[in-house]
């Protein structure tokens, strides 16, 4: 399998102060949107050009490996040619290949709309959700590999256990001691506070961020961006209260917690839900400092 690590050099740097981080994050997202808009225009122009031409095909190079099957025990790439249709995604092309050419081609997928998080893969050298990656956005041949930094079970399926364990390590559930009187009374939450945690609650556990993180690659115990983001989701929720927030900060401030992050932004870059993961990690570092917790 590939052990390539995408290098994110442009954004790396020392721990940043909040306003910079926020504005940089904004800029980056704006840039991402601009790029997406440009891409779309390009795609449409291309589409129009190709409409006149005959049937086109997409060339996929797909990683294959199965520890059990002779002939697949040595990793290899198989090539599939798939007739291109408008709007075709990497997942569509994989499904076509599987259903038409080789029914043993194995990958996880379910919702096809970027919410179940099961089809994160390494496409042309980047972590992507196969279902929301348009073929027309990619250089050909399209190279599809399992997520780096995870054990490969078979073809494009990786072992997710470690990722799940890290997610569960941050006590990923709401905790509070105070509820309003009356059975049918909800807790009050300000609109501002909901806005603050909103992005963090969008995580779909696809593990693209974990796979892209150099630090996680070198430190198996590092909680990783997704788990820290999960902690952020609760620590910043005003309904949980100060005492519990303190406890949360202690969890993320442990040796393999937030201080391992070197703000390389690769997690933020690959997140299919545009969660500003690096910013959330930085914000938790700041909260930890404010709470006089210890540095590692």
């Amino acid at each position: 399998m590939s052990t390539q690590i995408p290098q994110q050099t442009d954004e790396s740097g020392e721990t940043e102060t909040e306003p910079e981080a926020a504005s940089k994050g904004e800029e980056r997202r704006a840039e991402k949107r601009r790029r997406a808009a440009q891409e779309r225009e390009r795609r449409q122009a291309e589409e129009a050009e190709k409409a006149a031409a005959d049937e086109e095909t997409v060339e996929l190079k797909v990683f294959r490996y199965d520890p059990e099957i002779e002939g697949k025990q040595e990793p290899r790439f198989d090539t599939f040619h798939v007739p291109f249709t408008k709007g075709m995604t990497v997942l569509d092309a994989l499904m076509y290949s599987r259903d038409t050419y080789d029914s043993s081609l194995t990958f996880r997928h379910s919702c096809r709309q970027a919410v179940c998080g099961s089809d994160a893969m390494f496409v042309n050298g980047g972590q992507k959700l196969a279902c929301k990656t348009q073929i027309s956005d990619l250089e050909q041949p399209v190279r599809v590999e399992p997520l780096p930094h995870a054990d490969v079970r078979k073809d494009l399926v990786v072992d997710m256990e470690h990722f799940y364990e890290q997610m569960e390590a941050v006590e990923p559930y709401f905790q509070t001691n105070e509820y309003p009187d009356g059975e049918l009374e909800e807790q009050r939450q300000t609109r501002e506070n909901r806005e603050k945690v909103k992005m963090s609650t969008r995580c779909i556990w696809c593990s693209a961020c974990m796979s892209s993180c150099n630090i996680a690659a070198g430190d198996n115990e590092y909680l990783g961006p997704a788990a820290i983001n999960k902690a952020y989701r609760f620590a910043m929720d005003e309904r949980e209260g100060e005492e519990i927030k303190q406890k949360r900060l202690e969890i993320i401030e442990q040796e393999h917690g937030v201080w391992r992050c070197q703000t390389q932004f690769s997690c933020t870059e690959v997140c299919p839900k545009d969660i500003p993961l690096t910013e959330h990690i930085q914000e938790l570092k700041r909260e930890a400092v404010k709470n006089n917790l210890k540095f590692w």
Binding site: A36, R40, R43, Q44, D66, P67, E68, I69, K86, G87, R98, D99, T100, S103, S104, T106, F107, H109, S110, C111, R112, Q113, A114, V115, C116, G117, S118, K132, R153, K154, D155, V157, M160, Y164, E168, E171, P172, Y173, F174, T176, Y179, E183, L184, E185, E186, Q187, R188, Q189, T190, R191, R194, K198, T201, R202, I204, W205, F234, D237, R239, E240
Partner: protein, 609 residues
């Protein structure tokens, strides 16, 4: 072999809620699911959860709207349970930390939805299902409930008795997708099926690829009747190329539908002069397709949904997710252009027949959520009523399975109450897919004690796996696509007799082909070829039951439109359709609908919006 008090099959909204409730009632619970819980399709629900939370609203009004929406095919005891208990369930979710959208005073927001007389739909942006799924999974983690994820449940372990009402369910047979191990899961108290939708019966659906109706088909083959299978909801706003759902929340917030002439056709062509875009889903779906069929569609396929006038701020606040979906999957920017939409399969109103406690006719077997039919949605489900169904009936099934006394149910299951046989003769032979040896419900060898039943079921399943892996034959994918195509061609929004008959014939052919199905991937590791092959049988069985119901019901009610019968016929059809699997073939019969609620009778009225 694994052993627990309660086994929950499926880990979406209903399964998670059932597991939590059973655990709170003192049971040792395990969930067995072919997907990891956070991958469940509940996560794709967008719009919201209906609950009468405000003083100006009441559960009675919610119940009235639901009965009317159901076209009077909902059973009042189930509908009233839903509407009475959804407020406390929504507040419980809030107490578990669910990030609902908020009003200025910090309270949970509510918005208007189709067919509702009060804006009672609570929501979290346009990602309500995602937030609900994750919030409940968090509670499962907190409680340390055992989850066997990536286990495909193949079958139920049910005793051999002639009458389904005498049968007992002792557990399930699971197939570990990661390792290929086949194992029994013994349930000392009960098995709860919470396997969700069956959208993969159709080829244009909002449902996930995993939604192959496994629980429905398993219960069906074990002898539980399937109720009202012909009632399939087609959602009026799905993206044409993929079937991805565009929430009713868009119309709830004021989104407008236009045809190719730029007309606001819901009003201009008189489909719903009062409610327009917010008429119920069956009405809007038919309106859109009528526009397309009469030449006023765009590219002869779809219509436009426009939300630009709502303004960027409101869209970002309440419908941000929709912008991403339209952009990623259709290349449309909802802020600057209208979005293309057309109807797509969305929800199955019918399913495993249960009473209002989630019990089926088989002792120890429960069902909740979309796979079940309690029946709260009747002939048409109102938007925002699926998520409360998951939590209310998930909770009820969980408690009951854990042994809580919930009193006698008012809804009778099986043929215990008033029922009548159907007089419909099908021209083609139905039933029997092959690929399975003598089964409990099919009159096989007699096993009555729990261990014996489980061991027999495991043997049968193992043999099936071995056979499928060893032989060569047809690929499941061609059979599956044949089923999906004929269903979409003929059992769609508009239905007519010749087409329905043709589908039944096509399904017969597909069944014959399925007898030769084989798995070409020989691996024991993550063999999705095998899983899809087993799912395809489920799809076949469900498609057939659905089509039989659609052919038999000669009236127009809710989502079920029949060309030959353009009126709702209360005199003859105020009753549920049931299909039972008896000795390898399906049998059709009916039972009356219950319109009598706690304090009132819901008299059928004309449904106008």
């Amino acid at each position: 072999m694994y052993e627990h008090d309660v086994i929950v099959v499926g880990a979406g909204g209903a399964g998670l809620r059932a597991a939590i409730a059973a655990q709170e009632a003192g049971a040792d619970v395990a969930m067995v699911s072919k997907l990891h819980p956070v991958r469940s399709h509940t996560g794709a629900a967008e719009g919201g959860i209906n609950a009468a939370l405000r003083d100006a609203d009441s559960w009675e009004d919610h119940a009235y709207d639901t009965m009317k929406g159901s076209d009077y095919l909902g059973d009042a005891p189930a509908v009233e349970a839903l509407c009475k208990e959804s407020p406390e369930e929504v507040i419980r979710l809030e107490h578990w930390g669910m990030p609902f959208s908020r009003e200025d005073d910090g309270r949970v927001s509510q918005r208007p939805f189709g067919g509702l007389s009060f804006p009672r739909t609570t929501y979290a942006g346009a990602e309500t299902g995602h937030q609900m799924l994750h919030t409940m999974y968090e509670q499962v983690v907190k409680r340390g409930i055992t989850v066997y994820d990536e286990w495909h449940v193949m079958d139920l372990a049910v005793t051999d008795e002639d009458d389904p009402a005498d049968r007992t369910c002792h557990g399930v047979v699971g197939y570990d997708i990661q390792t290929g191990e086949v194992s029994g899961f013994r349930a000392n108290n009960g098995v709860i099926l919470a396997t969700g939708g069956m959208g993969q019966v159709f080829d244009h659906t909002t449902n996930a690829v995993a939604n192959t109706g496994d629980g429905v088909a398993m219960a069906y083959r074990a002898g539980v009747p399937m109720e009202d299978m012909e009632f399939i909801q087609f959602h009026p706003t799905t993206l044409p190329s993929t079937g991805v759902l565009i929430s009713e929340g868009v119309r709830g917030e004021g989104g407008i539908l236009y045809n190719s002439e730029g007309e606001r056709f819901m009003f201009e062509h008189g489909y719903a002069n009062n409610d327009g875009e917010l008429a119920s889903r069956d009405v809007v779906s038919r309106a859109e397709l009528t526009e397309v069929n009469e030449g006023r569609g765009i590219e002869d396929e779809y219509v436009h949904l426009d939300m630009r006038h709502l303004g960027e701020e409101r869209i970002l606040d309440r419908l941000e997710n929709i912008l991403h979906l339209a952009e990623d999957f259709e290349g449309a920017d909802g802020l600057t252009e209208p979005m293309p939409v057309k109807p797509g399969q969305h929800y199955a109103m019918g399913g495993i027949e249960t009473n209002e406690h989630g019990e089926t006719v088989i002792d120890g077997l429960y069902a909740a959520g979309e796979c079940a039919c309690a029946s709260v949605h009747g002939a048409n489900r109102l938007g925002g009523n699926a998520l409360p169904e998951l939590i209310v009936f998930g909770k009820r099934a969980g408690r009951h399975a854990a042994g809580e006394d919930m009193g006698e149910a008012e809804i009778e299951t099986g043929r215990s109450g008033e029922w009548e046989p159907a007089d419909y003769e099908f021209e083609v032979e139905v039933g029997e897919t092959g690929g399975r040896g003598p089964a409990a419900a099919d009159g096989g060898a007699v096993a009555t004690d729990a261990d014996g039943v489980l061991a027999a079921a495991v043997d049968r399943a193992s043999e099936r796996v071995e056979t499928l892996l060893a032989r060569s034959g047809r690929n499941h994918a061609e059979i599956r696509s044949k089923v999906q195509k004929t269903m979409t061609d003929n059992v769609n929004v508009f239905r007519e007799e010749p087409g329905l008959k043709e589908t039944l014939f096509d399904l017969r052919e597909a069944r014959e082909e399925y007898k030769d199905v084989a798995v070409s991937d020989p691996s024991r590791t993550f063999n999705t070829d095998l899983i899809h092959t087993m799912e395809t049988r489920n799809i076949l069985d469900i498609a057939e039951a659905l089509t039989m119901g659609a052919l038999a019901r000669r009236e127009f009610r809710g989502a079920h439109w029949r060309k030959e019968n353009q009126i709702r016929d209360d005199e003859n059809w105020l009753k549920h359709t049931l299909v039972s699997w008896n000795d390898g073939e399906p049998e059709l019969w009916y039972k009356p609908v219950i319109l009598e609620g706690e304090n009132k009778v819901y008299e059928p009225k004309n449904r106008s919006y």
